[in-house]
Symmetry: C2
Subunit: 240 residues, 2 copies
């Protein structure tokens, strides 16, 4: 059995201009790994209708799940719902259940549900709402695409709302062995181990410390914890 | 005149598993913005030959420049040079000038230039080397693709080696106005300002502080500093 696959699409000019450092991709990556869903690709595009539509279509065709972040707020540059609607050839309009969530939230907060905020109730036909326990304005799932907010606290809450609805595979386990030698010194032995444990994935990640000492973190991943443990022991024996 | 466009391709299982948080994309984004080159897309793929080849081809066709990070070290999972060679239908082999750089570096360090390290001298035919002042092993440019290391210190040094060789456009200037009101309250005025200053790009980025107060950072960007200043004044007047 192979695990379900996934892609992430990060939407927003502020990411590509360098003004904002995306943290949602790393968060999603960790949560998917824990859930046995393999994140295989991520893309970042600007607030551009055609770019979002093209990316949604490509990723939705290629992978089992697509997770998006960004562009579902109340301002003029929030165009994700319309782009996702276009990608699925479906109409987008204010929906009663989404409007009711916003009405209740803003009534409690004593704020007005004005035209701008009402934009956040615009949902493509046929979508299922994603619960937003932080600030009410919902995300939504249409087909295999899960559309979520860009604000990290809200994004992270929405991920927790979506994950239980998905069927995961076998979660990966991993072991990390720190070797105080450069990658060039350990590459040969590492290749031998990767051949011997060919049901596991070996990665090597060089580091350099501020004091100038360097080395490699060797990470081994697999779905069978006993095999990962066996490989970890072999690594420790090879690099004492 | 429009600015040159660019894309970034981040290569590595460790990014998509969530083990490592990519910082190269944000660094490149800032440096390109300062250089008048518009970063329009970023992708992250795993250490998978076909995925790297497909992404290189798609991005190289779509944008003026492509910058890659990762997968050019000495270990078995470093397969970027071969994938880039395949994307350009060109042979990849150890090249004398790259080997000479490594020989000099490891001789000085008193380390052996073994078979694994020599892999870092494998360069696609017709490529130009990118200087690596940190650890010698070069990156390379082939066609419009600039292939660089994943280790942030080395990546950043290679970016500085490449940028002066590129023709930039007009650098963007930006102004940021902090508004202590939620996005839903400012969206209408913001839309009016975005229409009035339609040669500039307006973005709105909500924030919430640990004490629960929230607001929006409104950012306006453009190539004409005088217009950006004018828009900043209009923003300050609209949101006193």
């Amino acid at each position: 059995m192979t695990n379900p696959t996934a892609a992430m699409l990060v939407i927003g000019d502020e990411i590509l201009s360098g003004r904002t450092r995306d943290s949602n991709m790393n968060h999603l990556a960790k949560r998917l790994t824990e859930s046995g869903i393999d994140l295989r690709e991520a893309r970042m595009v600007s607030d551009d209708h055609d770019a979002i539509v093209a990316a949604i279509r490509a990723l939705s065709d290629a992978w089992d799940h697509v997770f998006t972040s960004g562009g579902i707020g109340p301002t003029h540059d929030d165009i994700t719902a319309d782009a996702v609607g276009a990608a699925f050839d479906t109409a987008v309009d204010v929906r009663d259940d989404a409007r009711a969530l916003l009405e209740a939230h803003y009534a409690k907060a004593g704020s007005e549900l004005n035209a701008a905020r009402l934009r956040m109730a615009r949902i493509p036909d046929g979508a299922t709402l994603i619960d937003n326990p932080v600030s009410a304005a919902p995300g939504f799932t249409i087909g295999n695409v899960h559309v979520m907010a860009g604000v990290p606290k809200v994004f992270e809450a929405m991920v927790e709302s979506v994950l239980p609805t998905l069927t995961g595979g076998t979660p990966l386990t991993s072991a990390s062995v720190r070797v105080e030698r450069g990658e060039g010194d350990i590459a040969e032995i590492l290749t031998e181990l990767a051949d011997r444990f060919d049901d596991l994935a070996f990665g090597s990640y060089p580091f350099q410390r501020p004091d100038g000492r360097f080395g490699s973190n060797v990470v081994v991943r697999g779905s069978d914890p006993a095999r990962v443990e066996e490989a970890e022991a072999a690594l420790n024996a090879a690099f004492p």
